[in-house]
């Protein structure tokens, strides 16, 4: 025991030395006392975060291992369910309700469908938004008359609260709505399986593309004009300038934008909840994981806690893959931008 603790102390000391080494190199020498004062200064933030984030997370995980209250058949009253082990998790992952598989019409039967729906929305919206956003950013980056006006007006969809966006598109996609009138169609936008999904994707793309465009625009603006001049002198045509100069240099900003959007899209709740109520198709064609969590809350907290933990793990996994393998480093990117190395 004492050996272990000794080793770990040594580790910490070493890490501290490593961590403070670059800071010393920067010139301003830090005394130990200042480091401690720093700890005191961040302590309120740490405590606050632990209270408002740490506690609920831990509590949710604890709850997810408890059974939801069941009915006492004799009295008709709820009695607490006791320890559940992993049964709340297997309920969702294996779609088991009691001893049988969950029949259609139970939330348990919708888990994998909603995982699929969530990832489908994420993939579709992010791909479309990045392509459109890139195009919009390149346009906005050019110098022309009225550029300020264009940049401001592009922001409008992003500035509208999602709930209102969803309601606007709800009216547009109503059976007697604008969409069917303009297209001369009779599509049940909130009823059909793919129609309802397209409705969500269209509304989301409309709302969020400006966000992507602005993030990319920020990346574009730090590319020095000389690099383009040099490329032009070397005889590169505009497509080559885009693929050989713009894309590689904007890549860090682009990756950050994509990471933000992917995480955002995986959590999507408000837009489908208001636009389609999670319905369409067989009744849950647009039910995302977050909608499923909220539906389950009224049917039992502990089971909902397990579901939200699963959702968290899924999103965490995706974020991890992004950061680890695709090199989306928000903080690094910003630091390097500040230093002017990008």
């Amino acid at each position: 025991m004492s050996v272990t603790s000794g080793v770990s102390t040594g580790d910490t000391a070493e890490q501290q030395t490593q961590a403070s080494a670059p800071e010393r190199k920067r010139g301003a020498s830090l005394h130990r006392g200042e480091g401690r004062r720093g700890i005191y200064l961040v302590a309120p933030t740490i405590i606050l975060l632990a209270a408002v984030i740490g506690y609920p997370v831990v509590k949710a995980i604890v709850m997810s291992f408890q059974k939801d209250p069941g009915l006492d058949k004799a009295t008709g009253m709820f009695v607490s369910g006791g320890n559940a082990g992993f049964s709340n998790y297997t309920h969702w992952i294996l779609q088991r309700c009691g001893t049988a598989s969950c029949p259609p019409g139970t939330l348990g039967a919708e888990f994998w469908d909603s995982v699929g729906t969530t990832f489908m929305f994420t993939l579709a919206t992010v791909v479309i938004e990045v392509l459109l956003g890139m195009w919009m950013a390149v346009v906005m980056n050019r110098a022309f008359r009225g550029r300020g006006l264009l940049r401001a007006s592009v922001l409008v969809p992003w500035a509208i609260p999602t709930a209102i966006t969803a309601k606007l598109w709800y009216f547009i996609f109503a059976y007697d709505g604008i969409a069917n009138r303009v297209l001369h169609t009779h599509i049940l936008w909130t009823g059909g399986e793919w129609a309802s999904r397209f409705a969500i994707i269209i509304a989301d793309v409309w709302k969020t593309t400006p966000f992507i465009a602005l993030l990319i625009l920020a990346g574009l603006q730090v590319i020095p004009a000389e690099t383009y001049e040099a490329a032009r002198v070397d005889g590169a045509n505009s497509w080559q300038r885009f693929t050989k100069v713009t894309l590689p240099l904007v890549r860090p900003a682009l990756m950050v934008a994509i990471l933000f959007r992917v995480l955002d899209a995986l959590r999507i709740y408000d837009l489908p909840a208001i636009l389609t109520g999670g319905g369409g198709g067989t009744g849950h064609a647009t039910t995302t994981l977050s909608i499923l969590v909220v539906d389950q809350i009224r049917g039992g907290f502990n089971s909902a806690a397990a579901l939200s933990t699963l959702t968290f793990l899924l999103i965490f996994l995706v974020a991890f893959i992004f950061v680890k393998f695709l090199g989306a480093h928000v903080v690094q990117t910003q630091q390097r931008q500040q230093k002017g190395t990008i």
């Binding site: 984030i53 939330l107 990471l259 009744g283 977050s290 907290f301 806690a305 968290f312 950061v323």
Partner: protein, 426 residues
């Protein structure tokens, strides 16, 4: 370190749902003998209800407060969303809030709150005389053979029809389907109810099933009994009508409002809706049917018995955590009194729970649909009284929706509905 920060904040970003679950779960725990506490205590109480749209509650409370100086009632107004009202009540009950004395509960949630041990049984000294009430409304407040809530307002389905085109309203479903040729001749849609996948579909599907002699759950409120020939007959009525176009294809996106708008625009011959649509269709500037429509009871299977409406409305209950239950009980008696019920009807168009009021000439003059509504409510069947209502209604909605759209057969969807309701209660 940088990488860790990144992953950490990404993780934080995805935690919203988890936090919400915990926030709503709060702290639980059970102590069973709250029902015997404070039963004779008097003092100030709080009355909790959803948004008071017609400003009818506040004047009533002022009237009560004038005559009860030592038992003042404070009004706590909730939002106008049924889900939010439910969640607000759950949070305050879980916190054992002694300041939620008398609560107004949507009929579908009474069983859940009763089974949680949050509602004071209305037995013994709290027993109400049930004889003036419509029998179906009393059933909505009864769980496990014990009355937990008093009926406060009711609601039932009506058949709205165009009296200029259909002189005598159809008494049976088949007659109504026959009348659809009139709709066709006028290039109108024939019939619509609430067929979007939400609570309204549960109401409409249950009405079809109950009308045909089927039932969703047995009288114990728990055992599903929907996989029967009678239930299949009921659901088939809707499925066939949707297939042959008597129910227009867009009706599976209809909630109450879309149906009402179509009817007011003169595009719909028959509509199943709640009484609220009556005054709107009469007064709306955009309504082209102001004096061209009337209401009838829902059509039945044969002409001798009208259709079975589902029951809406709210009940009033006393919290087990109330510190002044004697006052709370008096206030419930006040809310359900004939006088107060009349005020609700006149000022807020709320359907009374006292059956004699439906024949009151002054009321009928103001709300001409009352006699029809009484016929509807006399045949009404409460929605399943179950503590697992959210899961049960999900089971009904999802499978009825799939059947109406033709995604699966009526038999298969009733089998799934049966299994899903069973799974909901386990």
């Amino acid at each position: 370190m940088i990488r860790r920060t990144r992953v950490f904040s990404a993780a934080m970003a995805s935690l919203g749902a988890g936090v919400l679950v915990v926030a709503m779960a709060g702290c639980g725990g059970d102590d069973s003998n709250n029902a015997s506490k404070n039963t004779n205590a008097r003092g100030p109480i709080t009355y909790v209800q959803g948004k008071d749209n017609n400003n009818v509650i506040r004047p009533l409370i002022a009237q009560w407060n004038a005559s009860h100086p030592n038992e003042q009632v404070t009004f706590k107004e909730q939002s106008d969303q049924a889900d939010q009202q439910h969640d607000d009540l759950v949070q305050h009950f879980q916190a054992k809030d002694a300041n939620y004395d008398v609560v107004n509960v949507d009929v579908v949630y009474v069983a859940e709150f009763a089974a949680k041990g949050w509602l004071q049984p209305l037995t013994g000294q709290f027993a109400l005389d049930a004889s003036p009430f419509l029998p179906a409304t009393v059933k909505t407040g009864t769980y496990n053979n014990t009355v937990y809530a008093a009926p406060q307002s009711s609601d039932g389905g009506l058949l709205y029809y165009r009296k200029d085109l259909v002189p005598t309203p159809p008494k049976t479903w088949d007659e109504m389907m026959g009348d659809c040729s009139i709709a066709k001749a006028h290039k109108m849609d024939c019939y619509a109810g609430q067929f979007a996948k939400y609570e309204g579909l549960t109401v409409n599907a249950a009405e079809a099933i109950n009308t045909a002699g089927g039932e969703i759950v047995k009288s114990d409120g728990r055992t599903p009994d929907v996989d029967t020939p009678a239930a299949a007959k009921g659901l088939t009525m809707l499925v066939d009508a949707y297939k042959n176009g008597n129910i227009p294809q867009q009706a599976i996106t209809y909630q109450e409002e879309q149906g009402r708008q179509s009817f007011e625009a003169g595009k719909l011959l028959f509509m199943r809706n709640w009484p609220y649509a009556y005054s709107l269709a009469t007064t709306d500037g955009s309504s082209v049917v102001k004096d061209k429509f009337a209401v009838a009871p829902l059509p039945g299977i044969d002409a001798s018995k009208p259709g079975a409406s589902s029951l809406g409305g709210h009940d009033a209950a006393i919290s087990q955590y109330s510190a002044h239950k004697a006052t709370a009980f008096d206030f419930i008696k006040f809310l359900t009194s004939e006088e107060t019920q009349k005020t609700f009807a006149v000022k807020a168009s709320l359907a009374p729970v006292i059956s004699s009021l439906y024949d009151d000439p002054t009321l009928v003059k103001q709300l001409p649909y009352l006699p029809t509504l009484k016929a509807s409510l006399n045949n009404a069947v409460p929605r399943p009284v179950t503590p697992f209502y959210p899961a049960v209604t999900e089971a009904i909605e999802t499978n009825a929706y799939a059947a109406i759209k033709g995604d699966k057969t009526v038999d298969q969807s009733l089998k799934d509905m049966q299994a899903a309701i069973k799974a909901a209660g386990s």
